[in-house]
Symmetry: C2
Subunit: 327 residues, 2 copies
DNA sequence: ATGAAAGCGCTAACAG
DNA sequence: CTGTTAGCGCTTTCAT
């Protein structure tokens, strides 16, 4: 039988309440008592029963992390970082996949609310107006979305990152850029598009926005298909994410279009594959580790301090970008 | 305030115990009572308090899934499948990463044991002799490892899969095959190697085993490097996993060695990248969904029935395999 | 500085 | 079929 607080108390010759408090406020006790209790606990291999603690304190010691799609290689890494940090804070991590469905996201949050201390939701697809209701049920921390100053959130610095991308491309002589967007329903995709558009406008570079049906490798291939068929190949393409960029590159290669010779390609995320592909993909590295860790830290934070943080993206230059071909 | 069983009981005009039992053994009640209770619960939006349930029943309604490395694309998919199934069974899923460290795996299991109903451990690196002790603390389900008939486990059918690979290759005229192994410390890697060796022996094909330092893209590159330097390029290579195979192919391509023209390459897993690479990688698709789901099912199963299951691998033929070059 | 006692929300004998 | 009662292991007033 697993030892309980009572067993420890008995072994240490003190009451249960003393034993309980020794763990919570050790300084309040005379060293002799404290040592005796701690020794007894160690001796017996005592571990508090979380269910009993949760029942009385209302805190469960678990935090849920919601991702739209665990299969997107960015998220496992983010989850991993959050989890390490949460573990350091003494919390367990529940991971759940929302299947990129706002309804499922909302219902998961509502369902988990009573049983977790907080929910970290990544690239949330929630409608703005569902947020207050859900946030009332459980502490919500947003990753990759800014739902306003009253909710804790961590973001990547898309505006700065996109300015770097545009600067790189204009420096290489590109005078017009095609942007392959993500889904319009996604806050993150809209933000990224806007950041890019503004950066380009700031540099005086005209932009063509193309909508791949799906932000995936296949979507990128399809987009390449469209570009190829249109007859007028851009000299530079910036994609919403690496998967799209990689799909585009693959299809271009099949069609005999040289990258970066004829078309330069830039991605976003820096997934492992971006390094492995040839040519390597130039991309904005998404600070997943920092975001995951910081999100975990925000869980325990007082809502008072400004709960929003922005992390820089890192431009990683590889072989997929080069001088613009003669127009 | 969240409604409790008492609130529901009061609203329905029955006792708490009746209320509690209506949820557990509905048939035992006269329809009138049952309906009244259920209606009251629905009306109030009652949800049982898991901590209280856990405190008394000893069952927490959570299951942990341990993976050696969430970053390996096979595992998120497996976790996802397990999680869906677990959710259908009414359980929450805790995911943890062992960092491919047996010590961490063991300590995680011990740490989680009191707070979960079961631990599903994938590609376990545990020593055989640590298993009994841990299995005594919590129900353990193994994925990708067979720790003997007394523990529930799910496996892929490596022997059959490897026979298919060998048959494909010999059919293409290959008369000698190089195998790039995984880590010797891993049960899964040893099993896969043995399955391959036996399949080759069965076909009368000699095998050269090469040990990449790491079962990764880089490891595959390094292996290619070695092969290149040795001066005698094999006509066919089978790798422990897709990442190795892809790294090998990439390095070979850089060196101007045609795949499959000069060397045929076969992987294992069928990660998304295997499809995206060019040429596409011929590989054995790992039945992650089936394994994840079945592992989840095994959690609630009586230990009596034979608790081991084997699932077929599917040979996916893509562009990386072709006729052997003239010897 | 320490102990006694109440009770968190629920389940499970035990009665009836 | 349904109600009464006694806790599960822990934290937290309230005393002392």
């Amino acid at each position: 039988m697993r030892p309980t607080l009572r067993d420890v108390a008995r072994a240490a010759g003190v009451s249960v309440s003393t034993t309980s408090r020794v763990f919570r406020e050790p300084d309040r006790f005379r060293p002799a008592t404290r040592e005796r209790v701690l020794a007894a606990a160690a001796e017996l291999g005592y571990r508090p029963n979380r269910a009993a603690q949760a029942l009385i304190t209302g805190r469960t010691g678990s935090v849920a992390v919601l991702v739209p799609n665990l299969t997107n290689p960015i998220f496992p890494e983010l989850v991993r970082a959050a989890q390490h940090r949460l573990h350091a804070h003494g919390s367990f991590t529940l991971v759940a996949d929302t299947d990129e469905d706002p309804a499922q996201e909302a219902s998961l949050i509502a369902m988990l609310a009573p049983d977790v201390d907080a929910v970290i939701t990544c690239s949330s697809l929630l409608d703005d107006d569902q947020i207050p209701d859900l946030a009332a049920q459980v502490r919500l921390v947003f990753v990759g979305r800014d739902p306003g100053p009253s909710h804790p959130s961590v973001l990547a610095d898309d505006p700065a990152g996109m300015r770097e991308v545009v600067a790189l491309l204009t420096g290489l002589g590109h005078r017009r850029i095609t942007y392959l967007a993500g889904r319009a329903a996604s806050w993150a995709a809209r933000r990224r598009l806007q950041a890019f558009t503004e950066a380009a406008a700031g540099a005086g570079v005209p932009v063509d926005v193309v909508d791949p049906n799906h932000p995936s490798f296949e979507g990128g291939r399809a987009a390449a298909e469209g570009l190829l068929r249109s007859g007028t190949l851009p000299t530079a393409v910036v994609a919403f994410n690496d998967l799209i960029a990689l799909g585009l590159t693959a299809r271009l290669a099949e069609a005999g279009v040289a990258v970066p010779g004829e078309v330069s390609v830039v991605g976003y995320d820096d997934v492992e594959f971006a390094r492995m592909a040839s040519p390597g993909l130039t991309t904005l590295a998404y600070p997943r580790t920092a975001l995951g860790e910081r999100a975990a830290d925000l869980v325990g934070t007082a809502p008072a301090d400004d709960p929003r943080r922005v992390f820089p993206l890192t431009l990683v230059e590889r072989g997929s970008t080069g001088p613009a071909r003669a127009g």
